[in-house]
Symmetry: none
Subunit: 198 residues, 4 copies
């Protein structure tokens, strides 16, 4: 029977309740009772689906990453050719749609475990993209790929955090992407207004 309709409904309610409540009061301040009350579900039922609230948060995050992966895959392929910024655009859009969840993940709620899941997933995509581009264009990195990947993912996360913490988008996603593309192509020195390297 694949999955009982009641089960799907219960889990959905619990996930939504978690996201809402973490946003309101923070992950640590929550009790399982709070979540189940908000979800209008018995506490015992919670435990028949999830081991504890960490487990629930981890699964919610995992589902989010799976969804993101699905949306990123074609964008990454397209991007591997040139330097279009399509993946980061797709991610910004996704973040807009799942704004609340992105916020609590990026804030580091849950002792940063979900955030670590997120950055690891991004790092994996980044590494893949690097490898793809290197092979396709037969170029060789000028600085350590590990450092490069960390810097890149950090940049993405930093911008995303800023982006989702505004009630309304502070600027169109396309404009953010353009800026990040410029930054990637010309560097921060240029971006701050200087003209030529030291």
């Amino acid at each position: 029977m694949a999955e009982d309709r009641r089960i799907r409904k219960t889990r959905k309610a619990l996930r939504d309740a978690l996201v809402d409540l973490v946003l309101e009061r923070g992950f640590t301040a929550l009790s399982v009772e709070d979540v189940t009350q908000r979800a209008d579900v018995a506490r015992a039922t919670f435990y028949s689906h999830f081991r504890d609230k960490e487990d629930l948060f981890a699964r919610v995050t995992a589902d989010l990453l799976a969804e993101l992966d699905v949306r990123l895959r074609p964008a990454v392929r397209e991007n591997a050719v040139g330097f279009t910024g399509r993946p980061i655009l797709e991610m910004l859009r996704h973040a807009r749609e799942e704004r609340d969840l992105y916020r609590i993940v990026l804030r580091g709620e849950g002792d940063g475990k979900p955030l670590r899941m997120f950055t690891d997933a991004c790092a994996r995509v980044a590494a893949e993209e690097f490898r793809g581009r290197s092979e396709r264009n037969s170029v060789v990195p000028r600085i350590d790929p590990e450092v490069l990947a960390r810097a890149w993912v950090g940049e993405q996360v930093g911008v995303l955090q800023w982006w989702v913490e505004h009630e309304t988008p502070p600027m169109p996603a396309e404009e953010v992407v353009r800026m990040l593309l410029d930054l990637a192509l010309r560097g921060r020195y240029w971006a701050t207004g200087f003209d030529a390297p030291v």
Copy 2:
């Protein structure tokens, strides 16, 4: 009476115990009892110094940031002239010295609150530096300063995380600084091996 020697000793013990234990088992998994036992201090004594474990962690982080600020101030002044990477170098050195504490803060332990304190402090320094350089060199930013600041801080945090999570430094701090400087001056496009902007 600046501060009783016993008090200093007790607080030091509690701070060290916290850092050790968070590293070992994670912030949420800790109880006040655990911390006081490790610090060899009575539980009641803990409560005469700190409201709860969040309070302790916040104060430990605040002290770290104050220390970092002291070390960063001259470096930032020097850096404001050119583009030397002195502040990031100083930060890497500080992170080496206080490696355990940096690790738990950067991991997002404590629902990311200490990490937020850290990034906010960095953002403040970054903004200051931007402003200083703009004025001094009368240049005008080519992309939104907010986005730029977020991207920059994110990059720093990302690299720092990677740097402190290695038991032994994966490369000399000076080399990391050189890479980040190259990245700032020429951009990621160049760094991955390409030659000219699209």
Copy 3:
């Protein structure tokens, strides 16, 4: 439609499982789940036959008492004439046949409710016998009939408890009956070895 064969089978299985398990672990320690598992029956099925485990135990006991009544009735009639001890003999035989059930009832399992059902039933029979004998032989009791009945039933229960708690009968039922008859006819003073009343 007397009763569906499936129903009879299910109830029998549940009753047997209850008796076995109460004997092994005690009534309070049991869960309905335990009983249904032992009986190889679904838990929901249990609830379609009995309200709860107390109900099951009560019905099992009631059935036992009905059976006992059937066997006691002729014995009591016969006994009403003289002082033969036939009823107690019949009861001992019944207790041998249904030893496990007698044991748990007489132990007071189920907060003593089944035991109370048992003693009440015995008291009813005892009262009936007293009345019958009084009328038939036109004798008048020398001590309060209520006290007499309680003492008698207590004696029976005490001896039964001892009798059924031995794996193998500690002595033939007929011998027990003879002793009790002697005790009834001559009293405990004589039974302990003394010769004449004080």
Copy 4:
């Protein structure tokens, strides 16, 4: 410090609450919460004194039996000489004083465990008395001592149950003792009104 006064007070409150509530609603129907609420004590405090409600009941019963033992000891010694009924008199008086507790024990609450403790204690006293009388008066039992003891204790328990279940004593303790003494000296046959053995 032997025993803290607070501790004594807390335990007393819990014991009294247990007895009251078992009387009102039955042992199985009670929760620890109910008991602690009635005793005006925190639930956690209950668990720092007793393992569970069975443990509490067992200790209450054990204390009762210790008290009874103290009161029975001199009576038994006196009784060992003749056939005075002093022990049963003492027991009836004790039962009047601790009526509620006697009621719940004799009802078989707690799956009959406390009742078993009670009957075992009585059996021990009975056996002791038998032995004493046999030796002192150099008489030899005419029926199996085991059966005799069981019958005797059963009789006592049966009469006690009846005695304590009346709100007001149905008759003076001395009269009950007289009856039981008559019963012991002359037997039930005589008691029901007959004159000579068959």
